[in-house]
């Protein structure tokens, strides 16, 4: 019970749990939570049996689109997303890594065309279990844990 109280309870909205702590701020950024007017609470470096240290985000009155959920899958494939209605879990959303990821991942190769032209990046998930992404343009491969989000 004490564990539950570390982050305030949510009446309506979305809970994103089991985020690796070091990915928390990236998740906040890709969901644009740093620019919303909703109430957002998050916990950082909470104890987790699975992850060691985990983070959790609770957003009031916001429900994620499948597209947003997919972006989370790039950063935190182990995350759990629950839709909360009247303090109850109304729906569990499944994380699904998309085959093609456009405009989300930044290519780390400074000589890549995507870092030299005003254009969107495009990556393909070539190994979803290992989290390997290949740049459609310069053909370099990045591993999930090294992914940089635009």
């Amino acid at each position: 019970m004490e564990k539950e109280l570390k982050v305030a309870a949510l009446r309506n909205g979305t809970v994103i749990d089991h985020i690796p702590s070091e990915k928390l701020f990236q998740v906040i950024t890709i969901l644009g939570l740093d620019g919303v007017t909703n109430q957002v609470t998050f916990g950082y470096n909470l104890e987790s049996k699975k992850l060691g240290k985990k983070a959790i985000i609770k957003v009031s009155d916001k429900y994620l689109s499948q597209d947003e959920v997919n972006k989370i899958a790039i950063l935190a494939p182990m995350a759990k997303i629950n839709i909360i209605k009247e303090y109850e879990v109304a729906e569990k959303m499944q994380l699904q890594l998309p085959d093609e990821i456009i405009g989300v991942i930044k290519c780390k190769n400074p000589k890549c065309i995507t870092n030299n032209e005003p254009m969107s990046t495009k990556f393909r998930a070539i190994d979803k279990t290992k989290g390997l992404f290949k740049c459609h343009y310069c053909e370099r491969i990045v591993e999930g844990e090294n992914v940089v989000i635009i």
Binding site: K111, C112, I113, N116, M119, H136, C138
Partner: protein
């Protein structure tokens, strides 16, 4: 139109590779034909490359096509801040096909997506240079009579050498055995070793270029060990002469062995090897014209 471009060697299937090689053989028999009569080919070289540009332009000229383009990016609107996209859209209004070399990796893929005419990648930084791979394959097939079941020994800069990487990908269709000979600093990147394992391609790795390590090779693919790749010049001095191929080293190699090199060669092949019947690198460069004639005609549906 993007699907009609040649950007990466992985765009070609096994059958497509063989089909282009057959076409190249036909051009070798009869290189002067008026197939491209009335066609305009743009050669856009954003960085200099004498050999590749002349080879493409020879290929087009011998087929009766006309050429527009530049060989120095400093004479283009790029210096005024024009994007690659705008340059390519403009040029695709003028030409029937674009040949582009660009130091930016992925530039050719992007160009193929914005162009209304086919794009041939003539090298995009350290990434791909597929027509080089096609001429390498053509040279291997011509000298060995086949592509299947060959032992290919690659020597030198296997880390940054894009021709090496593309050749590994292309040869994977033909059941090869590889031997990689490189200094530790320049060994083949892990992802290509993984590629070999995934495709059940046997390979061995050595750090020394000696008789034993090339004894059973059918193809010796030499590359330049570039000074600028080394952070420690002392390391460079240590390896530069170790990877020099000399006539003496070739005495006990197989009679069908042929030496390839994408050129330019600096000191990794001694000049005394040039007259050895196993030296094939200059003919290899000549084959580039036929391979490029075949690629260009294929992309234009001719």
């Amino acid at each position: 139109m993007a699907n009609r471009s040649l950007v990466s060697i992985t765009d070609y299937s096994r059958d497509k590779i063989l089909q282009i090689l057959d076409k190249a053989a036909a051009f070798e028999k009869n290189p002067n034909q008026q197939i491209l009569n009335g066609k305009v080919v743009a050669t856009l070289f954003f960085e200099p490359s004498t050999r590749t540009r002349l080879s493409f332009e020879t290929a087009v000229n011998r087929l009766g096509g006309r050429i527009i383009g530049f060989s120095d990016a400093s004479t283009t609107s790029g210096t005024k801040g024009e994007t690659l996209k705008d340059t390519i859209i403009m040029v695709s209004n003028y030409a029937d096909l674009i040949v582009m070399r660009n130091p930016i990796e992925g530039a050719a893929r992007y160009a193929s997506e914005v162009s209304s005419v086919p794009v041939v990648n003539a090298g995009d930084g350290a990434n791909q240079h597929p027509t080089q791979t096609m001429l390498d394959l053509y040279s291997i097939k011509k000298t060995q009579g086949r592509l299947e079941n060959l032992k290919i020994c690659m020597v030198g800069d296997l880390k940054y050498g894009r021709t090496v990487h593309s050749l590994i990908q292309a040869m994977s269709h033909f059941n090869p055995t590889f031997s990689f000979i490189a200094p530790k600093e320049l060994e083949l990147p892990e992802e290509y070793k993984l590629f070999c394992k995934e495709h059940n391609i046997p390979f061995e790795e050595h750090t020394e270029l000696n008789e034993a390590n090339i004894a059973d090779a059918d193809i010796l693919y030499m590359t330049r060990v570039q000074k600028e790749r080394f952070t420690d010049l002392f390391e460079y001095e240590k390896v530069r002469n170790v990877y020099t191929l000399r006539n003496k080293l070739l005495e006990n190699t197989k009679p069908n062995l042929r030496i390839l090199h994408p050129l330019p060669r600096v000191n990794e092949i001694d000049y005394d090897v040039d007259n050895n019947e196993k030296a094939y690198y200059f003919q290899q460069a000549k084959n580039g014209v036929y391979a490029r004639q075949a690629v260009i005609c294929d992309l234009l549906g001719l």
